[in-house]
C-alpha cells in the first residue's frame, strides 16, 4: 500500500481494505482509548518485573517482590495457628473440667471439637451425634461409661473393648443361649421390658425376675440400674442401644453384640481428645 486511499464522501483516508465495495475508514482511535492501551502495556511490563512471569528453563522469573501464592497460604496457615496457639496451649495444660468451666476456652474447644467430630466420629455416631442401633446417641443423658467430661475423655482416649489399648474400657456381656433355656430367655426379656414399658404377657414377668436375680444382677445390679464401672447399661430407662422391645432384648441375651470403639489418643493427640470430650459434653447430655 504505497498510495493513500481517500474516501471520496468523508475525505478520510481508508485502510485500503475493501469488501464488496465497503471500505474501512482509517479514523484515529479515541485518545482515552489510546492512552489506556499504552497504560495497560506499561502496566503489563511492570507487572512482569514485580511478579513471577517470564518462563525460564527450569522455572520462571521470580519477580522483585518475591511473591508466591504458596508462601501466602503458608503464612495464612501459620497466622491461623498463631491465633489459636493461646487457646491450644491452655487446653494442653488444663484439665477438661477446667476447660469446660472457662467460657472462652469452652467456646474454642466446642468449635475445635465439633470440627474433629465431623472428621473422625460421624462415621459411627452420625453428623448430629444421634448414633444408631449399636452406636450410642451422644445427645442423651444415658451414659454407659459415665457422662462427666473426664469420663468422656477417658472413653475417647482409650476406646471401648479396643484390644490394642491396655487401658481400654473393658466389659463383655456373656452369651446366655447355652446357659438359659429358651423359655427363661423369654421370661427375663419380658421382665426387663416391663421395667420401662408394658409387655404382652404379664405372666412372664415374675419368673423373669427370678431368672434376672440368678444371672444378671452381678453386672446390671439388683434394681437393674446398671453399673458404669462395668459398662453395664441401665435397663430401666427408655434408651436401648440395640433396640427396645422383648425381641431385641432376647436377641441381646442369647448372643449379645459387644460394640467396639477405637482408642483415639494415638491418632488425634491429647489436645484434640480434650476438645472432643468438651464438645460431646456440650451436646446436652453431659453430666
Amino acid at each position: 500500500m504505497s498510495s493513500e486511499h481517500i474516501d471520496e464522501i468523508s475525505g478520510i483516508t481508508t485502510t485500503g481494505h475493501e469488501w464488496d465495495g465497503i471500505k474501512e475508514l482509517n479514523n484515529p482511535l479515541p485518545r482515552w482509548w489510546v492512552i489506556t492501551f499504552y497504560v495497560t502495556i506499561a502496566w503489563a511490563l511492570a507487572y512482569t518485573i514485580f511478579y513471577p512471569a517470564w518462563p525460564m528453563l527450569s522455572s520462571t522469573t521470580r519477580g522483585v517482590l518475591g511473591f508466591s501464592s504458596r508462601n501466602d497460604v503458608k503464612n495464612e496457615l501459620a497466622a491461623a495457628e498463631a491465633a489459636k496457639a493461646k487457646y491450644v496451649a491452655s487446653i494442653e495444660s488444663k484439665s477438661v473440667s477446667e476447660i469446660a468451666g472457662d467460657d472462652a476456652l469452652r467456646e474454642f474447644a466446642v468449635a475445635a471439637g465439633g470440627a474433629a467430630f465431623k472428621v473422625n466420629c460421624v462415621q459411627c455416631h452420625g453428623s448430629g451425634a444421634l448414633g444408631s442401633k449399636g452406636f450410642p446417641n451422644l445427645n442423651d443423658d444415658d451414659w454407659l461409661w459415665g457422662g462427666k467430661t473426664e469420663q468422656i475423655q477417658q472413653t475417647i482416649t482409650h476406646g471401648v473393648r479396643f484390644a490394642a489399648d491396655a487401658d481400654t474400657r473393658q466389659s463383655e456381656m456373656p452369651a446366655f443361649a447355652d446357659v438359659l433355656q429358651p423359655e427363661q430367655v423369654a421370661q427375663v426379656s419380658a421382665f426387663v421390658a416391663s421395667l420401662s414399658g408394658p409387655v404382652k404377657d404379664k405372666s412372664l414377668i415374675e419368673p423373669g425376675a427370678k431368672v434376672f436375680a440368678d444371672n444378671c444382677v452381678a453386672c446390671h445390679g439388683e434394681n437393674a440400674k446398671g453399673n458404669r464401672e462395668l459398662g453395664a447399661p441401665d435397663l430401666t430407662d427408655a434408651i436401648w442401644l440395640y433396640g427396645p422391645g422383648e425381641a431385641a432384648i432376647a436377641a441381646q441375651v442369647k448372643a449379645p453384640k459387644n460394640g467396639v470403639m477405637p482408642a483415639w489418643v494415638g491418632r488425634l493427640g491429647e489436645t484434640t481428645v480434650k476438645e472432643l470430650a468438651v464438645y460431646v459434653h456440650s451436646l446436652g447430655g453431659g453430666e
Partner: protein, 519 residues
C-alpha cells in the same frame, strides 16, 4: 442608549457547542472560564461553602451516646457493623433506612429537576463544586481567562513551570484533603487523624486517600466538563425529567435577536435589532464551553453563570436584565410566538416592545404557581410518603429483638426418663448502648422446662441474663418436655423476652418436635 463603548467584546469560542462539536477521537479543547460575578455566582459561593463545610466538618461533630458507644455524630463503623447518625443508630438488618433515604434522594432529584431543572448539576453536584474550587485555585495562581489562555499558549519558561507546579501541587493538596476527609466517616476522626499523621493507620486508609486524591485531581483538574458530558448518566436521564414547565437556563432570543455587534449602525440603516450585542460574555464564563444562545443542550449544567454575565452587560447597556434567564419552555414558546407573529417570520423585537421601549403586557413570565402541578405533587407525595414511613418506622422500631434457631440435627433427643429434648439457639439483640437484664420465658408447651448451656441453674421456665450494651447475646437453650405431656409430633410455643426496666418485650414462635406417638 446602546453605548457600545461600555461593553467589552470577548473573543470567545464555544468549544463544545453543537455546531462545532468534535469527534470523540479528537483531543479535548481546553476551556478557560472567565470569572463571573452576580447573584447566581454569589449563591454558588454560598452553596460551595455549605456543601464543602458539611463534607469536611461532619466527621468532627461529636454526639454523646454514653460510655458504651462512640461519640462521633456521623460514623459508619464497618468493623462493628453499626451506622451512627446523631441520635439514630442503625444495625445491618435495618439497612432499609438507607435504602429509603436513597429512594428519597432519587424522588427528590426528580422533584427538583421537574421544577428547577438541573439544579443538582449546577449547584450541588460534587463534580461541579470541586471543579469550581479547582478553578478558584487556577485563577488565583494563573490569573483570569485571558492570562490563562496566554500562559497556556506560551512556551515553557521558568515562570510557566513555577506557576504550573504551584497550581498542580495545590490541586493535589485539595485532592488529598478530600480523600483525607472521606476516611474520617469510617472511624473515630481524632484518633484516625493521629494515626494517619504518625503512619500507624490501616493500609486501607492510605489507599483510600490515594485513590480519592487521584480521582479528585483527575476529575476536578483534568477532565472537568468531560465527566458531565461523557461519564455521568444523569444528563441523559434528566431529559426525561424535564417538561415544558421546568425551569432551564434559556437565551430569550425573542428579545435578543437579531443580534448585532453594532446596533446603532443597524438601527441607523432602518433595520430592527435585538438586545444581544454578541459580546460573548455568556460564552466566556461557561465552564462547559458551550454557547447558551444555541438553545438548551446536553452539556448545559445550568450553573447560571451566563445569566450573571449577561445581566452585567444588560445593566451597562441600560436594558432589562434577563436576556438570558431561568425560563420554562412554555413561557419561551409563548414569547417566541409573540415575537415571530405566530411563527410567520423571523424574530422581530418590535413585536415584544411598546413604542416607548418597555415590554408589551402579553409577555409570559415565570411565577411560582407553575411549580404546583400534578407531576410535582406526585413526586412530593411519594417523597413525603417514604419520608413519613421512615420516620414512623424509626419512632416505633424495636430496640430489643429475639431470634430463635431450632436445632435441625438432632431434631429431638429422647432422654432416659422418656422425656423429649429440643435444642435452640436463642439470639438476644440489645440494640441500645446500655447493658440490660433480659428475662427469657417459655410460654405454652405444658410442663416443659429449659436449661441454658453454661448457666449453672436448675431447669426452669424463666431465666434472667445480662446482655452487654449494643450487642447480640447467643444462648444455647435446651427445652425438655415430659413424655406424658407430649400431645403431638410438632407443638408450637413462644419464647418471650422482657426488659423489666424499660418494659420492652419481644416474642418468637418456635416449634417443639417429638417422635410420632406410638413409635
Amino acid at each position: 442608549m446602546l453605548d457600545q463603548t461600555q461593553v467589552e467584546r470577548l473573543e470567545a469560542e464555544a468549544v463544545n457547542s453543537a455546531k462545532t462539536r468534535q469527534p470523540l477521537y479528537a483531543a479535548r479543547k481546553k476551556i478557560f472560564p472567565k470569572r463571573a460575578s452576580g447573584r447566581f455566582r454569589q449563591f454558588k459561593w454560598l452553596v460551595m461553602a455549605i456543601t464543602l463545610g458539611i463534607y469536611y466538618l461532619t466527621p468532627w461533630l461529636r454526639w454523646d451516646r454514653g460510655p458504651f458507644a462512640p461519640d462521633q455524630a456521623v460514623l459508619l463503623d464497618l468493623a462493628n457493623r453499626r451506622f451512627y447518625f446523631f441520635f439514630i443508630e442503625i444495625w445491618p438488618q435495618e439497612f432499609y433506612y438507607v435504602a429509603g433515604l436513597l429512594m428519597m434522594a432519587g424522588v427528590g432529584l426528580f422533584l427538583i429537576t421537574s421544577t428547577v431543572g438541573r439544579a443538582w448539576c449546577g449547584y450541588t453536584c460534587p463534580q461541579t463544586v470541586w471543579v469550581d474550587l479547582f478553578l478558584v485555585v487556577e485563577r488565583a495562581i494563573e490569573g483570569d481567562r485571558n492570562a490563562r489562555m496566554k500562559l497556556d499558549a506560551a512556551p515553557w519558561t521558568t515562570r510557566k513551570l513555577f506557576l504550573r507546579t504551584i497550581k498542580h501541587a495545590t490541586w493535589l493538596i485539595i485532592g488529598a484533603a478530600t480523600g483525607g476527609a472521606w476516611i474520617f466517616y469510617f472511624a473515630d476522626a481524632p484518633t484516625l487523624l493521629r494515626e494517619v499523621v504518625t503512619g500507624t493507620a490501616a493500609p486501607v486508609a492510605y489507599v483510600t486517600i490515594a485513590v480519592l486524591t487521584g480521582t479528585t485531581y483527575v476529575f476536578g483538574g483534568m477532565m472537568r466538563e468531560q465527566v458531565c458530558t461523557y461519564m455521568c448518566p444523569w444528563p441523559r436521564i434528566q431529559a426525561a425529567m424535564l417538561d415544558e414547565n421546568s425551569l432551564t437556563v434559556t437565551y430569550n432570543d425573542w428579545r435578543g435577536e437579531p443580534r448585532s455587534r453594532h446596533p446603532k449602525k443597524v438601527v441607523a440603516a432602518g433595520q430592527s435589532v435585538g438586545d444581544c450585542v454578541d459580546c460573548n460574555a455568556c460564552v466566556a464564563v461557561c465552564p462547559m464551553g458551550i454557547d447558551i444562545r444555541d438553545g438548551q443542550q446536553l452539556e448545559c449544567i445550568t450553573c447560571a453563570l451566563c445569566i450573571d454575565a449577561c445581566d452585567g452587560v444588560m445593566d451597562k447597556l441600560g436594558r432589562e436584565r434577563g436576556l438570558i434567564s431561568y425560563a420554562t419552555l412554555a413561557d419561551y414558546n409563548a414569547n417566541m410566538t409573540l415575537a415571530t407573529a405566530g411563527g410567520t417570520g423571523p424574530v422581530n423585537p418590535a413585536l415584544v416592545r411598546t413604542p416607548s421601549g418597555s415590554f408589551v403586557d402579553g409577555l409570559a413570565h415565570f411565577h411560582l404557581g407553575k411549580i404546583f402541578r400534578l407531576r410535582t405533587f406526585i413526586y412530593l407525595g411519594a417523597w413525603s410518603a417514604i419520608g413519613l414511613a421512615l420516620v414512623y418506622s424509626l419512632l416505633t422500631r424495636e430496640r430489643l429483638e429475639l431470634n430463635v434457631l431450632h436445632d435441625r440435627n438432632p431434631q429431638f433427643v429422647t432422654l432416659s426418663d422418656g422425656s423429649i429434648r429440643n435444642g435452640y439457639t436463642v439470639k438476644l439483640l440489645n440494640m441500645v448502648p446500655e447493658p440490660r437484664t433480659i428475662e427469657v420465658t417459655l410460654e405454652g408447651l405444658d410442663g416443659a422446662e429449659m436449661s441454658i448451656v453454661g448457666m449453672d441453674e436448675p431447669a426452669s421456665r424463666s431465666f434472667a441474663t445480662q446482655v452487654e450494651p449494643d450487642r447480640l447475646k447467643i444462648l444455647k437453650v435446651f427445652v425438655r418436655q415430659p413424655a406424658d405431656q407430649i400431645k403431638k409430633p410438632v407443638q408450637r410455643f413462644e419464647f418471650r423476652i422482657d426488659d423489666k426496666a424499660s418494659s420492652e418485650s419481644a416474642e418468637y414462635t418456635a416449634n417443639f418436635n417429638a417422635p410420632e406417638i406410638g413409635k
